[in-house]
């Protein structure tokens, strides 16, 4: 289907496609096998200006919107959502600055992220604070001109690889949700360290670690926005980033469909290519139908968000749920179409199926997304 992209959007797609085909696809199996961080590929993406897409021009970026980043991530996701996640997590890490950071902070941090000289990461999750973000234990206490941080963040993408971390900490426990704040921690800050790389089912090329704060002291001016606005910034950050996760799902599903359909045309059983059998055709048809429906929703949501409406939570959650559940289903069916070959590591769909699972879990589980949609419906219909 033609989605009538602008010339600039076609450029973004073209660059991301070339990086995916020439750099990511030839290396993805090896990166997965070795849990290797795709530093060289990310550097190439930086040189191609992809990290600058969501960053305003005044801070060295391209000044693109949600749809622009969605288009880039869809292409990258077709190659490997591990690499796509490492890329997306750097954007996620700077959204809090774009949303609530002061001009000085943006000037200090954003140009280096736009150029890819530095990577960013976002730190919310803890051992006891996953879907329920109010369980955060990490604290930040003002001591003179410095914040003193204590606590441990868990499963942080780009941990150990990023230089700039935007993290959530409790600055006043008595105020509940209004007692959380966001702060910037830099690699090398005293008392800050990263744990070992976690061993994951999929997206193994992305780095996932703990962030450990032991009397970590950072300057007072590292506070993002006003004290106590941390949760609002977190929610706005995730609302902005979820369509990107949906886009990774679109790409992954496209890659899986491409593999399955190509295979089904070549594989001969009972004297015919298996694509000639209706059982296989229907599976491929359902994969293609679901994928195109998801793409229409994600693109529509991204364009809606780019029009800057007041509230984007519902569409953002809707597109994340639909596209990532679709990606899991399509990847699973791609393995099924390819049978025993699909299950082997020699073929890429095995990795795609392992990778797809995380899309339903991170940046808010799909169950939490349904809560968001449900709560929004409750509000909308309550007004009547």
């Amino acid at each position: 289907m033609d989605y009538f992209l602008t010339e600039e959007q076609e450029m973004i797609v073209g660059i991301a496609r070339q990086i995916t085909d020439e750099r990511i696809i030839p290396q993805r199996a090896e990166l997965d096998e070795n849990d290797a961080f795709p530093r060289a590929i990310l550097n190439e993406m930086a040189r191609a200006d992809l990290f600058g897409i969501p960053i305003p021009e005044e801070f060295g970026g391209f000044g693109g919107g949600c749809f622009d980043i969605v288009l880039a991530l869809e292409q990258l996701g077709r190659g490997c959502i591990g690499v796509g996640t490492a890329f997306a997590a750097s954007s996620l890490g700077i959204y809090p600055l774009l949303i609530a950071g002061s001009r000085e902070m943006c000037e200090k941090y954003l140009p280096d992220v736009a150029s890819g000289k530095k990577f960013a990461a976002f730190g919310l999750t803890e051992a006891n604070a996953g879907s329920d973000a109010s369980g955060i234990q990490t604290t930040a206490v003002l001591d003179g001109d410095e914040w003193v941080l204590n606590g441990t963040k868990q499963w942080i993408t780009n941990g150990g690889e990023a230089q700039i971390y935007t993290i959530v900490a409790i600055t006043d426990r008595s105020k509940g949700a209004r007692g959380a704040s966001m702060l910037v921690v830099e690699e090398g800050d005293p008392g800050f360290s990263c744990g070992p790389k976690e061993k994951k089912m999929g997206i193994r090329s992305s780095s996932t670690t703990e962030l450990i704060f032991k009397d970590c002291r950072i300057p007072k001016d590292r506070l993002i926005g006003r004290k106590g606005t941390g949760f609002i910034t977190v929610m706005k950050t995730l609302d902005s980033s979820r369509p990107g996760i949906a886009a990774l799902g679109l790409g992954l599903a496209q890659g899986a469909l491409d593999e399955a359909a190509t295979y089904a045309k070549q594989r001969v059983q009972f004297g015919k290519p298996i694509i000639a059998f209706q059982a296989v055709q229907h599976m491929l048809a359902d994969m293609a139908i679901q994928l195109e429906a998801a793409r229409a929703l994600v693109y529509g949501a991204a364009r809606h968000i780019d029009a800057h409406p007041k509230d984007i939570s519902k569409v953002s959650s809707m597109c994340k749920v639909f596209a990532t559940d679709m990606a899991m289903k399509v990847a699973t069916d791609a393995v099924q179409v390819m049978g025993g070959y699909g299950y082997m590591r020699e073929y890429p769909v095995e990795k795609m199926m392992r990778d797809a699972k995380i899309l339903q879990i991170y940046e808010g589980t799909n169950q939490i997304q349904r809560n968001v949609v449900g709560q929004e419906l409750n509000k909308e219909y309550g007004r009547a």
């Binding site: 040189r47 191609a48 200006d49």
Partner: protein, 259 residues
């Protein structure tokens, strides 16, 4: 440091067909690309500029649509582009092409280094680079696989040979033709693509470069293509039987008439 890179638009080799009636290349509907070796020449020029400063000018002789590959070179980091285009250039062989490019280089002005791909994948002659160097009266090295050292005054290079490589030092001005081992061409950048879209491509005609009409295009080309034809498909199958020694004997006997 002023670098000129000569590039050519060629039909995509993945998509080459012969017109069965005329036996010439069917160009209708065939995608055009930058000659793959030239991508490496552009990349090396941009790297040298990043290292030493200066500017990179890409130059192509071709029809108006060759502008596409010049814009592609800009998106990959070239600073400016020149298209030498004139109906009078049509039918040029490597002799006339190197004359035309040399004239164009003289119009562009002073330079330190000229880079070319080893050969174009359509004609496959590998003659234009050396021919251009002779016209410009500068030293040249073909099949460069590595730039070991680069300074404002010259380069230390590796030249690919059949049985290894030579290490050569040369002073500017000079011309190199490059092979694909030289580097990995970068993916164009977003800012580069935007710049390429807006960039003004300088156009030069035969008159602009002061070309002698007798030296360009078909009249200036000593090479005459008498006939182009695909080799006849002649395939015979032979199955050798018996023990291994018998089979080897039969194979040798069957090859003998061709030796």
């Amino acid at each position: 440091m002023k670098i000129i890179v000569c590039i050519k638009q060629v039909p995509d080799a993945k998509d080459v067909r012969l017109d069965p009636k005329t036996n010439t290349l069917a160009r209708e509907g065939v995608q055009s690309i930058m000659n793959p070796y030239d991508l490496h020449a552009v990349e090396e020029a941009v790297r040298l500029r990043e290292l030493l400063g200066g500017e990179v000018t890409v130059l192509s002789m071709g029809p108006p649509q060759a502008e596409e590959v010049l814009r592609q070179a800009i998106s990959c980091g070239a600073d400016q582009a020149v298209l030498v285009s004139d109906r009078a250039f049509a039918g040029a062989d490597t002799w006339a092409t190197s004359y035309t490019l040399a004239k164009a280089v003289n119009v562009i002005g002073a330079f330190d280094l000229v880079l070319c791909g080893k050969q174009a994948i359509d004609g496959d002659t590998a003659q234009v680079g050396p021919g251009l160097a002779m016209r410009l009266q500068i030293p040249y090295v073909t099949c460069v696989q590595k730039v070991r050292e680069a300074t404002d005054s010259g380069l230390v290079l590796e030249r690919m040979m059949d049985d290894g490589y030579d290490v050569l030092a040369l002073d500017f001005p000079a011309l190199l033709t490059v092979v694909k081992d030289l580097n990995e061409p970068r993916v164009p950048s977003l800012k580069g693509k935007m710049r390429a879209k807006k960039a003004e491509i300088r156009r030069l005609t035969a008159a602009d470069i002061g070309a002698d009409p007798a030296c360009i295009g078909l009249p200036g080309s000593p090479t005459q293509v008498v006939k182009v034809f695909p080799p006849e498909a002649r395939r015979k199958r032979a199955v050798f039987t018996g023990n291994l020694d018998d089979q080897i004997g039969q194979l040798v006997d069957s090859l003998h008439p061709y030796l």
